[in-house]
Symmetry: D2
Subunit: 145 residues, 4 copies
Amino acid sequence: MSPRVGLDPAGIERLMDEHFPQARELGWEIVSVGDHAARLRLPIREAHLRPGPSVSGPTLMALADTAMYFALLGAIGPTLLAMTTSLNVNFMRGCAGGVLVADARLLKLGKRLAVGEVGIRAEGAPDLVAHATLTYSVPPSRRGE
Amino acid sequence: MSPRVGLDPAGIERLMDEHFPQARELGWEIVSVGDHAARLRLPIREAHLRPGPSVSGPTLMALADTAMYFALLGAIGPTLLAMTTSLNVNFMRGCAGGVLVADARLLKLGKRLAVGEVGIRAEGAPDLVAHATLTYSVPPSRRGE
Amino acid sequence: MSPRVGLDPAGIERLMDEHFPQARELGWEIVSVGDHAARLRLPIREAHLRPGPSVSGPTLMALADTAMYFALLGAIGPTLLAMTTSLNVNFMRGCAGGVLVADARLLKLGKRLAVGEVGIRAEGAPDLVAHATLTYSVPPSRRGE
Amino acid sequence: MSPRVGLDPAGIERLMDEHFPQARELGWEIVSVGDHAARLRLPIREAHLRPGPSVSGPTLMALADTAMYFALLGAIGPTLLAMTTSLNVNFMRGCAGGVLVADARLLKLGKRLAVGEVGIRAEGAPDLVAHATLTYSVPPSRRGE
Protein backbone atom coordinates (compact mmCIF):
# COMPACT_ATOMS: atom_id res chain seq x y z
CA MET A 1 0.00 0.00 0.00
CA SER A 2 1.37 3.41 -0.90
CA PRO A 3 2.06 5.54 2.13
CA ARG A 4 0.08 8.41 0.64
CA VAL A 5 -3.21 6.49 0.42
CA GLY A 6 -5.49 7.56 3.23
CA LEU A 7 -7.43 5.16 5.42
CA ASP A 8 -11.19 4.74 5.28
CA PRO A 9 -13.27 4.17 8.44
CA ALA A 10 -12.86 0.39 8.27
CA GLY A 11 -9.10 0.76 7.89
CA ILE A 12 -8.93 3.09 10.87
CA GLU A 13 -11.00 0.69 13.01
CA ARG A 14 -8.63 -2.17 12.10
CA LEU A 15 -5.55 -0.08 12.84
CA MET A 16 -6.93 0.90 16.25
CA ASP A 17 -7.96 -2.65 17.15
CA GLU A 18 -4.53 -4.04 16.27
CA HIS A 19 -2.24 -1.39 17.67
CA PHE A 20 -4.17 0.95 19.95
CA PRO A 21 -7.09 -0.95 21.50
CA GLN A 22 -7.15 1.23 24.63
CA ALA A 23 -8.31 4.12 22.40
CA ARG A 24 -11.61 2.26 22.18
CA GLU A 25 -12.37 2.90 25.84
CA LEU A 26 -13.66 6.40 25.11
CA GLY A 27 -16.55 4.92 23.17
CA TRP A 28 -16.39 6.81 19.85
CA GLU A 29 -18.10 5.69 16.63
CA ILE A 30 -16.82 6.81 13.22
CA VAL A 31 -19.46 8.50 11.07
CA SER A 32 -17.23 9.53 8.17
CA VAL A 33 -13.59 10.12 7.22
CA GLY A 34 -12.26 11.79 4.09
CA ASP A 35 -11.55 15.08 2.32
CA HIS A 36 -9.21 16.08 5.14
CA ALA A 37 -12.03 15.74 7.66
CA ALA A 38 -13.58 13.25 10.07
CA ARG A 39 -16.83 13.05 12.01
CA LEU A 40 -17.22 10.98 15.18
CA ARG A 41 -20.16 10.30 17.49
CA LEU A 42 -19.80 9.77 21.23
CA PRO A 43 -22.80 8.39 23.15
CA ILE A 44 -22.36 9.92 26.60
CA ARG A 45 -21.95 7.50 29.49
CA GLU A 46 -21.67 8.04 33.25
CA ALA A 47 -17.87 7.79 33.05
CA HIS A 48 -17.77 10.85 30.75
CA LEU A 49 -19.48 13.15 33.25
CA ARG A 50 -18.23 15.46 35.95
CA PRO A 51 -20.35 17.11 38.64
CA GLY A 52 -22.99 19.43 37.20
CA PRO A 53 -23.41 16.99 35.65
CA SER A 54 -21.66 17.81 32.43
CA VAL A 55 -19.30 16.05 30.05
CA SER A 56 -15.81 16.40 31.52
CA GLY A 57 -13.04 18.41 29.93
CA PRO A 58 -10.76 15.38 29.52
CA THR A 59 -13.56 13.54 27.70
CA LEU A 60 -14.02 16.44 25.27
CA MET A 61 -10.26 16.76 24.75
CA ALA A 62 -9.88 13.04 24.10
CA LEU A 63 -12.74 13.18 21.61
CA ALA A 64 -11.22 16.19 19.83
CA ASP A 65 -7.80 14.53 19.71
CA THR A 66 -9.24 11.30 18.31
CA ALA A 67 -11.29 13.09 15.64
CA MET A 68 -8.24 15.06 14.49
CA TYR A 69 -6.10 11.89 14.46
CA PHE A 70 -8.65 10.07 12.30
CA ALA A 71 -8.88 13.03 9.89
CA LEU A 72 -5.09 12.80 9.58
CA LEU A 73 -5.11 9.01 9.08
CA GLY A 74 -7.76 9.57 6.43
CA ALA A 75 -5.40 11.93 4.61
CA ILE A 76 -1.97 10.30 4.97
CA GLY A 77 -2.64 6.63 5.67
CA PRO A 78 -1.64 4.25 8.43
CA THR A 79 0.87 5.98 10.66
CA LEU A 80 0.77 5.25 14.35
CA LEU A 81 3.52 7.73 15.06
CA ALA A 82 1.77 10.94 14.17
CA MET A 83 1.79 12.69 17.55
CA THR A 84 -0.19 15.57 18.95
CA THR A 85 2.24 18.42 19.60
CA SER A 86 -0.24 20.97 20.92
CA LEU A 87 -3.92 21.38 21.67
CA ASN A 88 -5.95 24.47 22.48
CA VAL A 89 -9.55 24.07 23.53
CA ASN A 90 -12.35 26.38 24.62
CA PHE A 91 -15.24 24.85 26.53
CA MET A 92 -18.42 26.75 25.69
CA ARG A 93 -21.43 25.08 27.22
CA GLY A 94 -22.26 22.05 29.30
CA CYS A 95 -23.81 18.86 27.96
CA ALA A 96 -25.30 16.36 30.38
CA GLY A 97 -26.30 13.45 28.17
CA GLY A 98 -27.26 12.22 24.74
CA VAL A 99 -24.71 12.01 21.95
CA LEU A 100 -21.81 14.31 21.08
CA VAL A 101 -20.73 14.84 17.48
CA ALA A 102 -17.16 15.92 16.73
CA ASP A 103 -16.21 17.40 13.37
CA ALA A 104 -12.48 17.57 12.64
CA ARG A 105 -11.03 19.40 9.66
CA LEU A 106 -7.39 19.73 8.62
CA LEU A 107 -6.41 23.37 8.12
CA LYS A 108 -2.88 22.58 6.97
CA LEU A 109 -1.11 19.36 6.01
CA GLY A 110 2.56 20.23 5.77
CA LYS A 111 5.81 18.33 5.53
CA ARG A 112 6.39 18.23 9.27
CA LEU A 113 3.25 19.57 10.87
CA ALA A 114 -0.49 19.25 10.45
CA VAL A 115 -2.93 21.77 11.92
CA GLY A 116 -6.63 21.16 12.35
CA GLU A 117 -9.71 22.30 14.19
CA VAL A 118 -12.50 20.33 15.81
CA GLY A 119 -15.99 21.49 16.71
CA ILE A 120 -18.03 19.42 19.17
CA ARG A 121 -21.82 19.74 19.40
CA ALA A 122 -24.71 17.84 20.93
CA GLU A 123 -26.20 15.75 18.14
CA GLY A 124 -28.82 17.75 16.28
CA ALA A 125 -27.96 21.04 18.03
CA PRO A 126 -26.25 23.96 16.26
CA ASP A 127 -24.28 25.36 19.20
CA LEU A 128 -20.74 24.35 20.00
CA VAL A 129 -20.04 22.52 23.26
CA ALA A 130 -16.30 22.85 22.68
CA HIS A 131 -13.91 24.02 19.97
CA ALA A 132 -10.32 22.84 19.68
CA THR A 133 -7.30 23.61 17.54
CA LEU A 134 -4.59 20.94 17.36
CA THR A 135 -1.18 20.47 15.80
CA TYR A 136 0.29 17.09 14.95
CA SER A 137 3.82 16.18 14.00
CA VAL A 138 3.86 14.14 10.80
CA PRO A 139 6.47 11.36 10.59
CA PRO A 140 8.91 11.68 7.64
CA SER A 141 7.58 8.80 5.56
CA ARG A 142 4.09 10.22 5.61
CA ARG A 143 4.79 13.83 4.84
CA GLY A 144 2.44 15.64 2.51
CA GLU A 145 3.56 18.33 0.04
CA MET B 1 -17.07 26.48 56.95
CA SER B 2 -16.16 29.79 55.40
CA PRO B 3 -16.19 29.66 51.61
CA ARG B 4 -12.74 31.21 51.50
CA VAL B 5 -11.00 28.41 53.44
CA GLY B 6 -9.11 26.21 51.04
CA LEU B 7 -9.11 22.43 51.12
CA ASP B 8 -6.17 20.32 52.17
CA PRO B 9 -5.30 17.02 50.44
CA ALA B 10 -7.56 14.98 52.74
CA GLY B 11 -10.45 17.38 52.11
CA ILE B 12 -9.95 17.12 48.35
CA GLU B 13 -9.85 13.33 48.49
CA ARG B 14 -13.12 13.30 50.43
CA LEU B 15 -14.78 15.73 48.03
CA MET B 16 -13.76 13.62 45.05
CA ASP B 17 -14.90 10.35 46.65
CA GLU B 18 -18.29 11.77 47.53
CA HIS B 19 -19.10 13.77 44.44
CA PHE B 20 -16.75 12.88 41.62
CA PRO B 21 -15.58 9.28 42.07
CA GLN B 22 -14.98 8.76 38.34
CA ALA B 23 -12.11 11.26 38.59
CA ARG B 24 -10.26 8.54 40.49
CA GLU B 25 -9.98 6.38 37.39
CA LEU B 26 -6.98 8.30 36.12
CA GLY B 27 -4.94 7.05 39.10
CA TRP B 28 -3.50 10.28 40.52
CA GLU B 29 -2.03 10.62 44.02
CA ILE B 30 -1.89 13.98 45.80
CA VAL B 31 1.61 14.96 46.98
CA SER B 32 0.81 18.47 48.19
CA VAL B 33 -1.74 21.27 47.92
CA GLY B 34 -1.41 24.84 49.13
CA ASP B 35 0.02 28.27 48.40
CA HIS B 36 -1.96 28.45 45.17
CA ALA B 37 -0.24 25.29 43.94
CA ALA B 38 -0.68 21.53 43.82
CA ARG B 39 1.57 18.57 43.04
CA LEU B 40 0.24 15.21 41.86
CA ARG B 41 1.92 11.89 41.01
CA LEU B 42 0.63 9.54 38.33
CA PRO B 43 2.06 6.00 38.21
CA ILE B 44 1.83 5.14 34.51
CA ARG B 45 -0.30 2.13 33.59
CA GLU B 46 -0.96 0.38 30.28
CA ALA B 47 -4.23 2.30 29.88
CA HIS B 48 -2.31 5.60 29.85
CA LEU B 49 -0.16 4.69 26.83
CA ARG B 50 -0.53 5.13 23.12
CA PRO B 51 1.61 3.49 20.42
CA GLY B 52 5.28 4.42 20.69
CA PRO B 53 4.66 3.61 23.43
CA SER B 54 4.20 6.94 25.14
CA VAL B 55 1.78 8.46 27.60
CA SER B 56 -1.23 9.60 25.58
CA GLY B 57 -2.21 13.21 25.11
CA PRO B 58 -5.61 12.75 26.80
CA THR B 59 -3.88 11.25 29.85
CA LEU B 60 -1.55 14.25 30.11
CA MET B 61 -4.42 16.69 29.63
CA ALA B 62 -6.54 14.97 32.27
CA LEU B 63 -3.59 15.07 34.68
CA ALA B 64 -2.99 18.77 34.00
CA ASP B 65 -6.68 19.57 34.43
CA THR B 66 -6.86 17.65 37.71
CA ALA B 67 -3.74 19.28 39.13
CA MET B 68 -5.05 22.75 38.30
CA TYR B 69 -8.47 21.90 39.79
CA PHE B 70 -6.86 20.76 43.04
CA ALA B 71 -4.69 23.91 43.23
CA LEU B 72 -7.92 25.89 42.89
CA LEU B 73 -9.76 23.84 45.53
CA GLY B 74 -6.77 24.39 47.78
CA ALA B 75 -7.18 28.14 47.34
CA ILE B 76 -10.95 28.68 47.37
CA GLY B 77 -12.42 25.66 49.15
CA PRO B 78 -14.99 23.03 48.20
CA THR B 79 -16.62 24.07 44.96
CA LEU B 80 -17.61 21.38 42.53
CA LEU B 81 -18.77 23.90 39.99
CA ALA B 82 -15.48 25.52 39.11
CA MET B 83 -15.23 24.64 35.42
CA THR B 84 -12.36 24.56 32.97
CA THR B 85 -13.07 27.18 30.32
CA SER B 86 -9.93 26.72 28.24
CA LEU B 87 -6.78 24.64 28.10
CA ASN B 88 -3.65 25.03 26.01
CA VAL B 89 -1.04 22.30 26.10
CA ASN B 90 2.30 21.66 24.41
CA PHE B 91 3.57 18.08 24.36
CA MET B 92 7.36 18.13 24.48
CA ARG B 93 8.73 14.65 24.85
CA GLY B 94 7.49 11.10 25.18
CA CYS B 95 7.38 9.12 28.40
CA ALA B 96 6.90 5.36 28.28
CA GLY B 97 6.67 4.38 31.92
CA GLY B 98 7.47 5.16 35.51
CA VAL B 99 5.75 7.98 37.34
CA LEU B 100 4.68 11.41 36.13
CA VAL B 101 4.73 14.43 38.44
CA ALA B 102 2.44 17.38 37.70
CA ASP B 103 3.02 20.79 39.28
CA ALA B 104 0.14 23.24 39.04
CA ARG B 105 0.43 26.87 40.01
CA LEU B 106 -2.26 29.57 39.95
CA LEU B 107 -1.13 32.62 37.98
CA LYS B 108 -4.26 34.62 38.70
CA LEU B 109 -7.22 34.10 41.02
CA GLY B 110 -9.81 36.69 40.02
CA LYS B 111 -13.46 37.28 40.70
CA ARG B 112 -14.71 35.33 37.73
CA LEU B 113 -11.69 33.59 36.28
CA ALA B 114 -8.62 31.73 37.50
CA VAL B 115 -5.57 31.17 35.31
CA GLY B 116 -2.86 28.64 36.04
CA GLU B 117 -0.04 26.67 34.50
CA VAL B 118 0.96 23.05 34.91
CA GLY B 119 4.32 21.44 34.19
CA ILE B 120 4.49 17.65 33.87
CA ARG B 121 7.78 15.77 34.21
CA ALA B 122 8.95 12.19 34.69
CA GLU B 123 9.64 11.80 38.40
CA GLY B 124 13.22 12.79 39.14
CA ALA B 125 13.85 14.23 35.67
CA PRO B 126 14.26 17.96 34.98
CA ASP B 127 12.78 18.10 31.49
CA LEU B 128 9.14 18.82 30.79
CA VAL B 129 7.01 16.12 29.21
CA ALA B 130 4.16 18.59 28.76
CA HIS B 131 3.26 22.14 29.75
CA ALA B 132 -0.29 23.43 29.98
CA THR B 133 -2.04 26.73 30.64
CA LEU B 134 -5.62 26.57 31.86
CA THR B 135 -8.43 28.96 32.70
CA TYR B 136 -11.23 28.11 35.11
CA SER B 137 -14.49 29.93 35.74
CA VAL B 138 -14.96 30.58 39.45
CA PRO B 139 -18.52 30.28 40.79
CA PRO B 140 -19.89 33.46 42.44
CA SER B 141 -19.85 32.21 46.04
CA ARG B 142 -16.19 31.29 45.83
CA ARG B 143 -14.81 34.33 44.11
CA GLY B 144 -11.53 35.72 45.31
CA GLU B 145 -10.84 39.48 45.46
CA MET C 1 -29.74 53.50 21.15
CA SER C 2 -30.49 50.04 22.47
CA PRO C 3 -27.40 48.28 23.73
CA ARG C 4 -28.24 45.20 21.69
CA VAL C 5 -28.11 46.95 18.29
CA GLY C 6 -24.91 46.02 16.53
CA LEU C 7 -22.69 48.46 14.66
CA ASP C 8 -22.31 48.52 10.91
CA PRO C 9 -18.95 49.23 9.21
CA ALA C 10 -19.52 53.01 9.19
CA GLY C 11 -20.40 52.94 12.91
CA ILE C 12 -17.27 50.95 13.71
CA GLU C 13 -15.10 53.36 11.71
CA ARG C 14 -16.58 56.31 13.61
CA LEU C 15 -16.11 54.59 16.99
CA MET C 16 -12.46 53.86 16.19
CA ASP C 17 -11.75 57.37 14.93
CA GLU C 18 -13.25 58.96 18.04
CA HIS C 19 -11.97 56.68 20.76
CA PHE C 20 -9.22 54.43 19.43
CA PRO C 21 -7.42 56.22 16.57
CA GLN C 22 -4.16 54.36 17.16
CA ALA C 23 -5.91 51.16 16.02
CA ARG C 24 -5.81 52.71 12.53
CA GLU C 25 -2.04 52.37 12.35
CA LEU C 26 -2.24 48.73 11.34
CA GLY C 27 -3.88 49.74 8.05
CA TRP C 28 -7.00 47.55 7.97
CA GLU C 29 -10.02 48.15 5.73
CA ILE C 30 -13.47 46.81 6.64
CA VAL C 31 -15.06 44.66 3.92
CA SER C 32 -18.15 43.55 5.84
CA VAL C 33 -19.56 43.19 9.35
CA GLY C 34 -22.69 41.33 10.40
CA ASP C 35 -24.23 37.95 11.21
CA HIS C 36 -21.70 37.46 14.02
CA ALA C 37 -18.85 37.81 11.53
CA ALA C 38 -16.47 40.39 10.07
CA ARG C 39 -14.11 40.50 7.11
CA LEU C 40 -11.11 42.85 6.94
CA ARG C 41 -8.45 43.50 4.28
CA LEU C 42 -4.89 44.45 5.10
CA PRO C 43 -2.68 45.73 2.27
CA ILE C 44 0.80 44.61 3.33
CA ARG C 45 3.38 47.35 3.87
CA GLU C 46 7.08 47.24 4.71
CA ALA C 47 6.31 47.80 8.41
CA HIS C 48 4.31 44.53 8.51
CA LEU C 49 7.23 42.36 7.41
CA ARG C 50 9.93 40.47 9.25
CA PRO C 51 13.03 38.89 7.70
CA GLY C 52 12.19 36.22 5.13
CA PRO C 53 10.52 38.46 4.26
CA SER C 54 7.15 37.47 5.63
CA VAL C 55 4.31 39.18 7.44
CA SER C 56 5.27 39.29 11.11
CA GLY C 57 3.48 37.38 13.83
CA PRO C 58 2.47 40.54 15.71
CA THR C 59 0.91 41.93 12.52
CA LEU C 60 -1.14 38.77 12.04
CA MET C 61 -2.17 38.73 15.71
CA ALA C 62 -3.21 42.39 15.61
CA LEU C 63 -5.24 41.73 12.46
CA ALA C 64 -6.94 38.70 14.05
CA ASP C 65 -7.71 40.64 17.22
CA THR C 66 -9.16 43.56 15.27
CA ALA C 67 -11.33 41.33 13.07
CA MET C 68 -12.73 39.55 16.12
CA TYR C 69 -13.35 42.87 17.90
CA PHE C 70 -15.29 44.21 14.90
CA ALA C 71 -17.35 41.00 14.66
CA LEU C 72 -18.24 41.55 18.32
CA LEU C 73 -19.07 45.24 17.85
CA GLY C 74 -21.25 44.17 14.93
CA ALA C 75 -23.15 41.86 17.26
CA ILE C 76 -23.44 43.80 20.52
CA GLY C 77 -23.00 47.46 19.58
CA PRO C 78 -20.62 50.20 20.70
CA THR C 79 -18.64 48.95 23.65
CA LEU C 80 -15.05 50.04 23.97
CA LEU C 81 -14.52 47.91 27.04
CA ALA C 82 -14.86 44.49 25.50
CA MET C 83 -11.39 43.11 26.17
CA THR C 84 -9.44 40.22 24.71
CA THR C 85 -8.90 37.69 27.49
CA SER C 86 -7.01 35.07 25.51
CA LEU C 87 -5.71 34.41 22.03
CA ASN C 88 -4.33 31.25 20.46
CA VAL C 89 -2.81 31.44 17.00
CA ASN C 90 -1.12 29.01 14.63
CA PHE C 91 1.05 30.46 11.88
CA MET C 92 0.86 28.20 8.84
CA ARG C 93 2.66 29.75 5.90
CA GLY C 94 4.54 32.89 5.05
CA CYS C 95 3.17 35.76 3.02
CA ALA C 96 5.55 38.36 1.60
CA GLY C 97 3.25 40.93 0.03
CA GLY C 98 -0.11 41.69 -1.51
CA VAL C 99 -3.25 41.85 0.60
CA LEU C 100 -4.32 39.74 3.56
CA VAL C 101 -7.99 38.95 4.19
CA ALA C 102 -9.14 38.11 7.71
CA ASP C 103 -12.47 36.39 8.36
CA ALA C 104 -13.69 36.47 11.96
CA ARG C 105 -16.68 34.48 13.17
CA LEU C 106 -18.21 34.38 16.65
CA LEU C 107 -18.51 30.80 17.93
CA LYS C 108 -20.24 31.80 21.18
CA LEU C 109 -21.71 35.04 22.47
CA GLY C 110 -22.41 34.49 26.14
CA LYS C 111 -23.26 36.63 29.12
CA ARG C 112 -19.68 37.17 30.20
CA LEU C 113 -17.53 35.74 27.43
CA ALA C 114 -17.45 35.67 23.65
CA VAL C 115 -15.42 33.11 21.71
CA GLY C 116 -14.51 33.41 18.06
CA GLU C 117 -12.16 32.22 15.39
CA VAL C 118 -10.32 34.08 12.66
CA GLY C 119 -8.83 32.71 9.45
CA ILE C 120 -6.30 34.82 7.56
CA ARG C 121 -5.49 34.19 3.90
CA ALA C 122 -3.72 35.97 1.06
CA GLU C 123 -6.45 37.62 -1.02
CA GLY C 124 -7.72 35.20 -3.63
CA ALA C 125 -5.82 32.20 -2.21
CA PRO C 126 -7.53 29.28 -0.47
CA ASP C 127 -4.80 28.38 2.03
CA LEU C 128 -4.62 29.78 5.53
CA VAL C 129 -1.69 32.00 6.45
CA ALA C 130 -2.78 31.93 10.11
CA HIS C 131 -5.70 30.73 12.21
CA ALA C 132 -6.59 32.19 15.60
CA THR C 133 -9.09 31.48 18.36
CA LEU C 134 -9.89 34.35 20.72
CA THR C 135 -11.96 34.96 23.83
CA TYR C 136 -13.32 38.35 24.79
CA SER C 137 -14.85 39.48 28.05
CA VAL C 138 -18.19 41.17 27.44
CA PRO C 139 -19.03 44.15 29.68
CA PRO C 140 -22.25 43.75 31.72
CA SER C 141 -24.38 46.25 29.82
CA ARG C 142 -23.69 44.50 26.54
CA ARG C 143 -24.18 40.91 27.55
CA GLY C 144 -26.03 38.61 25.22
CA GLU C 145 -28.36 35.85 26.48
CA MET D 1 31.52 31.62 14.42
CA SER D 2 30.08 28.30 15.47
CA PRO D 3 26.35 28.11 14.89
CA ARG D 4 25.82 26.95 18.46
CA VAL D 5 27.23 30.08 20.10
CA GLY D 6 24.40 32.20 21.42
CA LEU D 7 24.14 35.95 21.02
CA ASP D 8 24.55 38.42 23.85
CA PRO D 9 22.43 41.59 24.11
CA ALA D 10 24.83 43.65 21.98
CA GLY D 11 24.85 40.95 19.31
CA ILE D 12 21.07 40.84 19.26
CA GLU D 13 20.83 44.62 18.98
CA ARG D 14 23.23 44.56 16.00
CA LEU D 15 21.33 41.75 14.31
CA MET D 16 18.06 43.63 14.69
CA ASP D 17 19.48 46.93 13.45
CA GLU D 18 20.98 45.30 10.37
CA HIS D 19 18.22 42.93 9.36
CA PHE D 20 15.04 43.74 11.21
CA PRO D 21 14.99 47.47 12.04
CA GLN D 22 11.18 47.64 12.06
CA ALA D 23 11.23 45.44 15.20
CA ARG D 24 12.60 48.51 16.99
CA GLU D 25 9.30 50.35 16.62
CA LEU D 26 7.79 48.59 19.61
CA GLY D 27 10.31 50.32 21.89
CA TRP D 28 11.81 47.39 23.85
CA GLU D 29 15.06 47.56 25.81
CA ILE D 30 17.10 44.42 26.53
CA VAL D 31 17.84 43.88 30.23
CA SER D 32 19.48 40.46 29.98
CA VAL D 33 19.82 37.43 27.71
CA GLY D 34 21.29 34.05 28.57
CA ASP D 35 20.68 30.69 30.25
CA HIS D 36 17.80 30.02 27.86
CA ALA D 37 16.05 33.17 29.08
CA ALA D 38 15.64 36.86 28.23
CA ARG D 39 14.30 39.91 30.03
CA LEU D 40 13.01 42.99 28.20
CA ARG D 41 11.63 46.32 29.40
CA LEU D 42 8.98 48.26 27.53
CA PRO D 43 8.32 51.87 28.57
CA ILE D 44 4.64 52.34 27.76
CA ARG D 45 3.78 55.02 25.22
CA GLU D 46 0.46 56.36 23.95
CA ALA D 47 0.70 54.12 20.86
CA HIS D 48 0.69 51.03 23.09
CA LEU D 49 -2.66 51.81 24.69
CA ARG D 50 -6.24 50.93 23.87
CA PRO D 51 -9.35 52.49 25.43
CA GLY D 52 -9.54 51.92 29.18
CA PRO D 53 -6.84 52.96 28.87
CA SER D 54 -4.78 49.80 29.00
CA VAL D 55 -1.86 48.32 27.11
CA SER D 56 -3.30 46.72 23.98
CA GLY D 57 -3.29 43.00 23.32
CA PRO D 58 -1.17 43.33 20.15
CA THR D 59 1.44 45.28 22.13
CA LEU D 60 1.63 42.54 24.78
CA MET D 61 1.78 39.82 22.12
CA ALA D 62 4.54 41.62 20.22
CA LEU D 63 6.49 42.03 23.46
CA ALA D 64 6.07 38.34 24.34
CA ASP D 65 7.11 37.27 20.85
CA THR D 66 10.18 39.49 20.91
CA ALA D 67 11.28 38.30 24.36
CA MET D 68 10.96 34.65 23.30
CA TYR D 69 12.85 35.35 20.06
CA PHE D 70 15.71 36.96 21.97
CA ALA D 71 15.85 34.06 24.45
CA LEU D 72 16.18 31.77 21.43
CA LEU D 73 18.86 33.91 19.76
CA GLY D 74 20.70 33.87 23.09
CA ALA D 75 20.66 30.07 23.01
CA ILE D 76 21.30 29.20 19.35
CA GLY D 77 22.97 32.25 17.83
CA PRO D 78 22.16 34.51 14.89
CA THR D 79 19.32 32.98 12.94
CA LEU D 80 16.83 35.32 11.36
CA LEU D 81 14.70 32.45 10.13
CA ALA D 82 13.52 31.06 13.43
CA MET D 83 9.77 31.59 13.07
CA THR D 84 6.94 31.66 15.56
CA THR D 85 4.66 28.72 14.78
CA SER D 86 2.12 29.25 17.55
CA LEU D 87 1.33 31.58 20.42
CA ASN D 88 -1.14 31.26 23.26
CA VAL D 89 -1.68 34.21 25.56
CA ASN D 90 -3.89 34.97 28.55
CA PHE D 91 -4.43 38.63 29.43
CA MET D 92 -4.86 38.92 33.18
CA ARG D 93 -5.02 42.55 34.23
CA GLY D 94 -4.83 45.98 32.66
CA CYS D 95 -1.83 48.26 32.80
CA ALA D 96 -2.22 51.93 31.92
CA GLY D 97 1.32 53.26 32.08
CA GLY D 98 4.81 52.94 33.45
CA VAL D 99 7.12 50.17 32.29
CA LEU D 100 6.38 46.56 31.43
CA VAL D 101 8.92 43.81 32.10
CA ALA D 102 8.80 40.60 30.04
CA ASP D 103 10.58 37.44 31.19
CA ALA D 104 10.99 34.73 28.56
CA ARG D 105 12.23 31.25 29.36
CA LEU D 106 12.80 28.32 26.99
CA LEU D 107 10.97 25.20 28.17
CA LYS D 108 12.32 23.00 25.36
CA LEU D 109 14.97 23.49 22.70
CA GLY D 110 14.59 20.61 20.28
CA LYS D 111 15.84 19.75 16.83
CA ARG D 112 12.91 21.27 15.01
CA LEU D 113 10.91 23.11 17.62
CA ALA D 114 11.50 25.36 20.61
CA VAL D 115 8.85 25.96 23.27
CA GLY D 116 8.94 28.80 25.77
CA GLU D 117 6.85 30.85 28.14
CA VAL D 118 6.78 34.57 28.80
CA GLY D 119 5.44 36.39 31.85
CA ILE D 120 4.75 40.13 31.58
CA ARG D 121 4.45 42.31 34.69
CA ALA D 122 4.42 46.02 35.52
CA GLU D 123 7.93 46.87 36.68
CA GLY D 124 8.24 46.27 40.40
CA ALA D 125 4.85 44.53 40.70
CA PRO D 126 4.45 40.81 41.39
CA ASP D 127 1.25 40.17 39.47
CA LEU D 128 1.16 39.05 35.88
CA VAL D 129 -0.33 41.38 33.28
CA ALA D 130 -0.14 38.62 30.66
CA HIS D 131 1.29 35.14 30.28
CA ALA D 132 2.15 33.57 26.93
CA THR D 133 3.34 30.20 25.66
CA LEU D 134 5.05 30.17 22.26
CA THR D 135 6.50 27.63 19.86
CA TYR D 136 9.20 28.46 17.34
CA SER D 137 10.45 26.43 14.40
CA VAL D 138 14.23 26.12 14.51
CA PRO D 139 16.04 26.22 11.14
CA PRO D 140 18.16 23.10 10.37
CA SER D 141 21.59 24.72 10.78
CA ARG D 142 20.74 25.97 14.24
CA ARG D 143 19.14 22.87 15.68
CA GLY D 144 19.95 21.92 19.20
CA GLU D 145 20.27 18.29 20.29
